[in-house]
Symmetry: C2
Subunit: 149 residues, 2 copies
């Protein structure tokens, strides 16, 4: 079932909870081999002697998983959300095989575009935690979304 929501349907302070995604070692390695082939992300044996004492996900894999969590949280239903920019992004803790990630999406600000008033900009904060409640990624994206026609 298709649902469309618009800029007017969200308010600063609204929050959305995502489902969960489990990080699979083979997928972490596959992602890293393509995009971030440092041994700490690709080689479980070499990673033991690396900075985290074991294999960790590329931060860009974690960021991509967070995008999937945001997509599933559907703050605007099926309405496309175009990422324009991210004001801040941090990876405070490493992500390891078997970690279960969940994101909380908060609406920080909603404003109408000055140049194209048919659209607006939604500033979000996404906080992603693992199964122990440790924050593994924080980001504050600005998304371009349509206003109600």
């Amino acid at each position: 079932m298709s649902t469309r929501r618009y800029l007017e349907d969200v308010q600063p302070g609204d929050t959305f909870e995502s489902g969960a995604i489990t990080m699979i070692e083979s997928e972490m390695i596959e992602f890293a081999l393509r995009f971030d082939p440092q041994p700490m992300h690709t080689d479980p044996v070499a990673a033991r002697d690396g900075p985290f004492g074991g294999l960790t996900a590329s931060g860009w894999h974690t960021a991509s998983i967070v995008m999937r969590l945001l997509y599933e949280a559907q703050p605007l239903g099926d309405t496309p959300m175009i990422g324009m920019s991210v004001d801040e992004m941090r990876w405070p803790q490493p992500v390891r095989p078997g970690d279960v990630l969940r994101a909380k999406v908060e609406v920080l600000a909603v404003r109408i575009s000055k140049t194209r008033p048919s659209h607006g900009i939604l500033k979000l904060r996404m906080t992603t935690r693992n199964q122990r409640g440790e924050t593994v990624m924080v980001q504050e994206p600005n998304c371009w979304v349509p206003r109600r026609p």
Copy 2:
């Protein structure tokens, strides 16, 4: 051949040029189906009526490609670079199938860690352009790197 460079080997103002990566439509769709399954990134036909008039890469795919370009530019040789945070990230133009992306890496700042003086923080600016010289992504990551032993 393995080469290791350290915090001391780079200075503010240093620049590095990456090689090139061509964006392949099937890879863009495959990435988006896993991480960002909005029709503008997954369905060439539906994307024609979407916000960019054609298929575009997920911004997280572009970000991951930029990580690969950074890896290949090797500002620190084989020394691991751990991404701690990104101060700012923008996608000023969409990335389309067939686009050829290249990144320029500039060293903005180099500082020694106060809490762990064996390491330091390298602040970079990465500017990624397409074959027409249009900027498709800008980001300013902070990387944790070892000092010379």
